[in-house]
Amino acid sequence: MPRNPYSRRLFLQQSVAAASGLALSGCGWRLADVRPVAPSGDSNKLYLYTWAGYTDRALLQRFTQETGIEVVADVFDSNEVMLAKLQSGGGGVYSIIYPSDYMVRRMRDLGLLVPLDHDRLDGLDRLFEPYQNPAYDPENQYSIPISWGTTGLVYNQARLGSDPVDWDYLWDNRSRLARRLTMLNDPRETMGAALRRLGYSYNATDPEEIRRAYEALRELRPAIASFTTDAWRDRMVAGDLFAAMSYSADAVGVEEENPDLRYAIPRSGTSLWTDTMAIPITAPNPDGAYAWLNFLLKPDVAASVTETLAFATPNRVAYEQLPPDLAENPSLFPSEEILAKCESISPVGEATAFYNRYWTLLTSA
């Protein structure tokens, strides 16, 4: 009986202590601070956090057959969502993540990636020369490229009646495109396309150039149905949309679903992206992660993935194994001439604030 008031008092004392502790620590806590964790004992299960369309059941089953490790793939649709999930502590189960080039750099700077032990990796030398030492991650210290591609336009030839050959096409035909066009839900890509159309760099840092790109997009806005990265596909196939800005990896194969659809790489150049695989510092299963990296570095695996999932492999040996129709597919492997005009998106430092501000203005209007 007398224990009850005591425990109530104790409870109050403890909660006051906890509350004041919280108030004190409130002066100096770090928002969403991500710390490395000790590997968990369960090395028989590997969780991947990847882009939609980068794995399929056959690939996961083959990995399990070869290594005995059960593998589960979750998907994200933008680098920012992936980063936010990891930073807010919701990504603790993943041992492999798939950041794109600029995000590798950003996550490395935030201290979120584990440096890779190259002694445990087999086949890095089978990558194409440029991918052995990419600008975003010298010497592949933190990431391994898994696919690369361009950003372009998927369009419905029958509905448009003509072929877009460059970014200009969107502006010239904006009345015909009225709410029949989608742009990527990505400030750097969409603003970058406008920058490129105006003759500037994808990585412009001059506020005036960024402002002009915004003005150009505002002009185009009545034509834009929505900003989306991958929700355009079924509407495009159904004929609801006439054109969609898209990553080449997502666009390959749309012709098979609707024969009117085509993919075009803008003539004046576009962005060139690389998606990679990396190990986050919170990875509970680093052994499984290395097994996965080595699995996808195998030329025959990389080649079969390129065939079934249609994304361009940076693996030279795998490329040589591809059937000719795939290896010569210009959407998947564009010509050197076009590639020379393309740019990789790289961090722009302070100018990020301008991109974000104009992006908010554009999407909120």
Binding site: N4, G28, L31, V34, A84, P187, A225, S226, F227
Partner: protein, 302 residues
């Protein structure tokens, strides 16, 4: 020894049951309130306090030091572009409330007063049935209906009626929101109209009131609390709705909830600004709930 021991027991024996009763009585509310109180504290009060603290840090992103320094994030909301977003949000909420009231009142009236008594419960259940499916699925269903080559336009085409282009417009958002929240409105109006005193309606018509007069002067005043409660509930729900504007509104319908999402998970990360926007929404919703408590429970005036 016996002398010193024997007088002791009788003395505390009398106050003990008294004391026990008062103690258990004093503890009762604490035991009952404890679990929900703890739940509220941990999952509602503390998170709101954290959001409030973050809202005081300008431009904070994950990994930054939390160092509250002022109201900059709140000043930011006053920029015309954001005020327009808030105005649009309130506009959507107000319009969908009005639509729900206009559509929901006749239905609730019919179920409560005109339908056969034994069917009433079944009718109410039938009306609430859509709530059993995920709101996400219902929004996707509307995409299928409203898209240019969708169900609606195929239907119109068979009758030679001109096509409608509703998706990715404000109209689509309003349709989606009204559809999502109509069942709540009907449910609340029904429970209010069910209690309607029909003798007053008979008396009104005996005294020569036309049906229209009787409706405005007898039915509406009696169900005004249901109308207020239903409207506020729909208004609050639409104010915070994310799925309908996001899926149906496309590029044309940035609302406060979508803006908040973008600050946390979207491309333009700024948790501080997102938090201040959230605080404003929380305040607005709290004010609406206060109104609901104040007027939703008022005694009916006849």
């Amino acid at each position: 020894m016996t002398e010193s021991v024997s007088p002791v027991p009788p003395t505390p024996a009398t106050p003990e049951p008294e004391e026990r009763r008062s103690r258990t009585q004093g503890l009762g509310p604490w035991i009952l309130l404890g679990p929900p109180g703890l739940w509220l504290l941990l999952l509602l009060v503390l998170p709101v306090l954290v959001i409030f603290e973050l809202s005081l840090v300008p431009g904070i992103r994950p990994g930054d030091l939390v160092n509250p320094s002022g109201l900059d994030n709140y000043v930011e909301i006053l920029k015309p572009i954001y005020l327009r977003v808030i105005l649009r949000t309130v506009g959507f909420a107000g319009a969908s409330t009005a639509i729900c009231l206009l559509l929901g009142f006749p239905v609730a009236y019919w179920i409560a007063l005109m339908s056969p008594r034994r069917w009433r419960n079944a009718l109410v259940v039938a009306f609430v049935l859509p709530l059993w499916t995920s709101s996400l699925l219902r929004s996707y269903a509307w995409i299928t209906i409203l898209r240019p080559t969708g169900v609606l336009n195929s239907f119109l085409a068979t009758f030679g009626i001109p096509q409608l282009d509703l998706l990715n417009q404000n109209a689509a958002v309003l349709i989606g929101m009204s559809y999502s929240f109509l069942p709540y409105m009907v449910l609340i109006l029904y429970s209010s109209l069910e209690k309607l005193d029909r003798r007053l309606l008979e008396a009104a018509s005996d005294l020569g009131a036309t049906p229209v007069q009787a409706f405005w002067q007898v039915t509406v005043p009696q169900s005004i609390q249901g109308i207020a409660a239903g409207s506020l509930l729909v208004f609050i729900s639409s104010l915070g709705d994310f799925i309908n504007p996001e899926l149906l509104g496309g590029a044309s319908s940035m609302t406060a909830s979508r803006l908040i999402y973008n600050q946390f998970l979207g491309a333009t990360q700024n948790w501080g600004f997102g938090s201040s926007l959230s605080m404003v929404i929380i305040l607005a919703v709290s004010a609406a709930i206060a109104l609901l408590i104040r007027y939703g429970d008022a005694t009916p005036k006849t």
